[in-house]
């Protein structure tokens, strides 16, 4: 169980992707690389404007992850909860597989009263497991007023992860990047909270929402090699502030 690792991409966005390919296909490719893709939609009012919500759900569905809608004020709690759930789900899957082999039943099929030992075990593992988490932060024009809260939330996720016994690494990718780049690696995987704090200050908001290229960039970071992303980026990103 010690070698078990959780690789997670979390897309944080307040709109629908509008340039650079289909994020749902990108999420599928991530799964092929042993990475779970979760998504958080930042909304003004819960349950309005169905476009971005649907995309958030679809990214999580094809990425094997979790999704959630939240106000920007609650982003930090949502990031924490979502990560917790993804980690538990990952360990659950492994434990269920082992249980099936050992006793021919999954956790669900064991009497509720007898489940507590397994649940306790899962909680212990979740505290010790190695977590690598790549946050893809939507930095399009519409995020302007929300970006400082978003920065705080990322630092706060690091606080949560650092409370655990296991190793935690966080990378941050902004999309779009400055100038005409689709993406910008704000910081590569690190467990140094001060380093993230310094780097994250440089994030600026402007332009379009190239969600798919950001996911491909994250896959590159995880696997340490170039992915399909290079073939896909042909369109000119940003330029117009009005496109969000």
């Amino acid at each position: 169980m010690e070698q078990m690792k959780v690789n997670q991409i979390i897309v944080v966005t307040d709109g629908r992707s509008n340039v650079g390919g289909n994020p749902i296909i990108a999420a599928k490719e991530a799964v092929g690389n042993n990475i779970i893709v979760s998504a958080i939609g930042i909304v003004e009012k819960l349950e309005e404007d169905e476009g971005p919500i649907e995309e958030v759900q679809n990214i999580a569905a094809s990425g094997g992850g979790e999704w959630e809608l939240t106000y920007i004020e609650n982003l930090s709690t949502t990031l924490h909860m979502l990560t917790q759930r993804t980690v538990n789900k990952t360990i659950n899957t492994v434990v269920n597989k082992q249980l099936k082999e050992l006793i021919g039943a999954e956790l669900d099929e064991i009497r509720p009263k007898r489940r507590n030992k397994f649940v306790e075990y899962i909680e212990n593992v979740s505290d010790e497991i190695h977590i690598k988490c790549c946050i893809l932060l939507d930095c399009s024009g519409s995020m302007k007023s929300k970006i400082s809260k978003a920065r705080e939330s990322i630092i706060d996720l690091m606080n949560s992860l650092k409370g655990r016994k296991g190793k935690s690494e966080v990378a941050v990718i902004a999309f779009p990047g400055p100038k005409t780049e689709m993406t910008n690696i704000v910081n590569d995987f690190t467990d140094d909270i001060e380093y993230i704090k310094d780097e994250i200050c440089n994030i600026r908001t402007n332009g379009t929402t190239p969600t798919a290229p950001a996911i491909y960039k994250a896959i590159e970071l995880f696997s340490g090699r170039a992915s399909k992303s290079n073939d896909i980026i042909e369109e000119e990103p940003l330029l117009e502030d009005s496109i969000v």
Partner: protein, 298 residues
């Protein structure tokens, strides 16, 4: 999943519960008021898709039943709907309000507030002795049981062993959010949250409180002219310096007694006495003068 008006039948134990209404929802699930068909009595039923949190809460309720101030756990079971499994626990239904609602309707004095915090603190102390912390302490998780005249702490999902990470928290009571420490579970995590809880009970303004700094809070307490020693104790509690959780509760208990003492010959009473003496004095001199004037007139 819409449950209102439905009957939930447990998959394993077969007990039937009619859903009466929603009592509350949190990060992990929803709590409904339900009617047990067999016994015709009311219970609270917490249901979630998260097997982890429901199983754990049931385990905690059973494990710590002897420490008191927590609701009775009735049963743990599964509910299947449209091929999907939900997990639920049935616990005692507490007739009353949570502390947050309660303080809005009832004006409690400082002594009463301190008293409530002592009761909660005693319960958490026992958890600490067993190697656990409560974690997600907040006004919403404290119920005032009107029927039995008791205080009960609900939602035990945040309980974690000392040394592991804090899994559930609420920003206002979370020391990491205030930059006052980590989310690694130690007894001082609870010390911060219980101190913040008492501050919140005194200020009664959560939105204002969440925008303040720790320094602002201390200044605020001083300005409010809350008992000086209590202000000092709260400061030490928030800073978690040279103060253990059990010492905090011990100090509060000592203060609880003196708060009563001060009430008897308190500042206000003395002021009243002074004011009354003054008025009585002027009345007497007025009457004497009146008599003198009347005598001269004659």
């Amino acid at each position: 999943m819409k449950l209102h008006g439905k009957i939930i039948t447990g998959k394993w134990n077969g007990n039937k519960y009619k859903v009466i209404g929603l009592l509350g929802k949190g990060g992990t699930g929803r709590v409904y008021k339900v009617l047990d068909i067999k016994s015709n009595s009311y219970y609270a039923l917490k249901i979630s898709e998260d097997i982890q949190s429901i199983t754990k809460e049931s385990d905690m309720l059973n494990r710590f039943i002897y420490i008191g101030s927590i609701p009775l756990s009735i049963e743990l079971d599964d509910y299947e709907e449209d091929g999907k499994i939900y997990y639920f626990i049935v616990i005692e239904y507490i007739k009353g309000e949570n502390l947050r609602e309660y303080i809005i309707k009832n004006n409690l004095n400082l002594k009463e507030l301190v008293g409530i915090v002592i009761i909660i603190g005693e319960m958490i102390n026992k958890l600490h002795n067993k190697g656990f912390i409560f974690g997600d302490l907040k006004l919403e998780n404290v119920m005032i049981d009107r029927e039995n005249g008791e205080i009960k702490v609900i939602d035990l999902g945040g309980i974690v062993p000392i040394g592991s990470s804090v899994k559930e928290f609420t920003p206002l009571y979370d020391r990491a959010k205030w930059n006052m420490g980590s989310r690694r579970a130690d007894t001082k995590y609870d010390l911060f949250s219980i101190s913040m809880m008492l501050v919140n009970l005194i200020f009664k303004n959560e939105s204002k409180l969440s925008n303040m700094s720790i320094r602002d809070i201390i200044h605020g307490l001083k300005r409010k002219k809350i008992d000086k020693e209590l202000t000092k104790l709260l400061q030490r509690g928030l800073e978690q310096k040279k103060l253990e959780f059990h010492e905090f509760i011990k100090e509060l208990k000592k203060m609880y007694k003196t708060l009563r003492y001060k009430k008897k010959i308190g500042y206000n009473n003395r002021v009243n006495l002074i004011i009354n003496t003054f008025f009585l004095g002027s009345l007497i001199s007025f009457v004497i003068m009146l008599i003198v004037v009347i005598k001269i007139m004659q």
